[in-house]
Amino acid sequence: MLPVDLQPNLMPPAYIDPGTGSLVIQVIIGTVAGALLTIKVFWNRIKLFISNLFAKNPNKTEDDE
């Protein structure tokens, strides 16, 4: 495997200056924001599962009740 520095296109030069400080802070913010997003997606799935569990069976008609 090539050393990171020689891997093609891993970090092509940007034509705007991304800013070293802006790149570094993204790692920290991204870790927290990414975790929050994962929790949010997981929580939404739990909510959907529970709401489906208690929802009326749509195939059930009034005559069946």
Binding site: D5, Y15, G19, G21, S22, I25, Q26, V27, I29, L37
Partner: protein, 462 residues
């Protein structure tokens, strides 16, 4: 062949905009070939077009001014009037920010990413914000941080949070800082309680500290990786932060204008009828309504299908105007903030990167309704100068003259000496006749006001 390069598209080596025989094209350079091909072949281009997020273009077979560099030439749909972020109201800037984030999210699902996030890449077309830079897309490499993150925070988030937490007038900083408002300045201007808001703490305050800390350090940036989920988390966070920012209604000088006027319903209706008749006579393709307030009279033009730029100096009035456009889905009207006594100048490199108001004209017709007394009396601009300026920006002029005994003018003179002996109908007609031919003059019923239809003595041609 008449060629020129756009003075605002020289920074990106991927290509640039040029004009040939009056038509606008974008040159795609060989260096951008791989990205351009992926952009088209991945389906990202079609998806963005279908969702109204990108300006459509067609590939054309015409020679570019530099054929050896050129991979392709594309002809984008023309935006009829270019506006700039420092001319937008709060909600326009917010919509432009949300559109940019929506584009970035779409990009990631197609294995691409925005390589810049300039607010100048967004324009209002048929009432909606669209991306106009077709060459802003690059292949997304897993682990690579978002190179445009800083630009998004400085160009979009910064002015929006300053408006939300401080004052909309700080939006003028966008005119000073073309690459966006420096985050250390934003951080120092925001109230200290914003440190308690996680989004603002991270995207503004800590971001600013990090920029300062690493400003003179050389580090191996390749060590810093942001995985896909983290990047999506950042975009999600920026999106929810932007959505929560609101325009806080501030009572401004003009916010009660139409409920605080001094003329009757009869005069108001007659004024609308005369303006509509004048517009029918001129039959313009474009109208600039100067001092439009919330755009009531602008809509006499835009409702006829005429592209109308509805300028006002009051951000609250422009905000109200834009919200009405957005709610009604109006496509022919563009509200913008403009101080007519200090209109947008040419700025950026060589004073040509962003065009002045005059350079974006002329327009077929200017509406100057209940306006010139403010310029002449509040700002001491003589009629001769006003007439000269209007002759530089339009072919036809619908202008209202308000006599000095009108209560609106008496209010302007209440706190100052009346040094305006030339402010009368005779002088007004004499000075404007030097630049315009007066074709119509109607007294507004139940008022002392007059409406004039004037034609430029030396009209502009396309």
């Amino acid at each position: 062949m008449n060629n020129w390069y756009s003075s605002g598209s020289f920074r990106d080596p991927s290509g640039n905009v040029f004009s040939q025989d009056g038509l606008l094209y974008r040159q795609v350079n060989n260096s951008y070939k791989d990205n351009y091909d992926q952009f088209i072949e991945s389906g990202l281009f079609n998806t963005l077009i279908e969702n109204g997020l990108l300006i459509p273009h067609k590939e054309v077979n015409i020679p570019s001014p530099f054929p050896s560099q050129t991979y392709k030439v594309i002809k984008p749909e023309l935006i009829p009037f270019i506006s700039y972020p420092y001319e937008w109201c709060f909600s326009q800037l917010k919509e432009a920010a949300l559109t940019t984030l929506k584009i970035q999210k779409t990009c990631l699902s197609f294995g691409m990413s925005l390589k810049d996030c300039s607010a100048y890449n967004i324009q209002f077309n048929y009432g909606k914000p669209v991306m106009i830079d077709t060459l802003s897309f690059e292949k997304y490499d897993e682990g690579k941080p978002w190179v445009a993150y800083k630009q998004f925070c400085q160009q979009f988030l910064a002015p929006l949070v300053l408006t939300n937490y401080r004052d909309f007038r700080l939006n003028h900083l966008l005119r000073v800082y073309l690459d966006g408002i420096p985050l250390d300045l934003v951080s120092s201007l925001l109230p200290s309680y914003t440190y308690l808001n996680f989004s603002l703490l991270s995207h503004i305050h800590l971001h600013a500290r990090s920029q300062q800390r690493y400003s003179k350090k050389t580090i191996d940036t390749k060590r810093y990786k942001v995985n896909r989920q983290s990047l999506l988390g950042i975009i999600e966070s920026l999106e929810s932060t932007t959505r929560k920012l609101e325009w806080k209604s501030q009572k401004t000088e003009w916010s009660d204008y139409y409920t605080d006027t001094n003329y009757s319903a009869q005069a108001f209706e007659h004024k609308k009828k005369v303006i509509a008749d004048f517009l029918n006579k001129i039959n313009p393709k474009t109208v600039w309504d100067l001092g439009a307030n919330v755009g009531l009279f602008s809509r006499l033009a835009s409702d006829k299908g005429i592209l109308t730029i509805s300028f006002d100096n009051d951000p609250a009035a422009v905000e109200t105007n834009y919200i009405e456009c957005a709610n009604k889905g109006e496509t022919n009207i563009l509200p913008l903030i403009l101080d007519l006594t200090n209109p947008s100048p040419g700025i950026g490199w060589g004073n040509k990167e962003r065009l002045s108001l005059v350079e974006r004209g002329p327009t077929d017709c200017v509406l100057a309704l209940a306006l010139i007394h403010h310029i002449a009396i509040s700002n001491n601009v003589p009629f001769s100068r006003i007439a000269e300026f209007f002759s530089e920006i339009c072919n036809s002029l619908i202008i209202e003259f308000i006599p000095k005994n009108d209560s609106q003018i008496q209010r302007l003179l209440a706190t100052r000496e009346d040094i305006f002996s030339d402010y009368n109908l005779q002088c007004f007609k004499r000075e404007f006749s030097k630049f315009f031919k007066i074709e119509g003059s109607i007294d507004i019923e139940d008022s002392q006001r007059n409406l004039f239809l004037m034609r430029n003595i030396t009209p502009y041609t396309d």
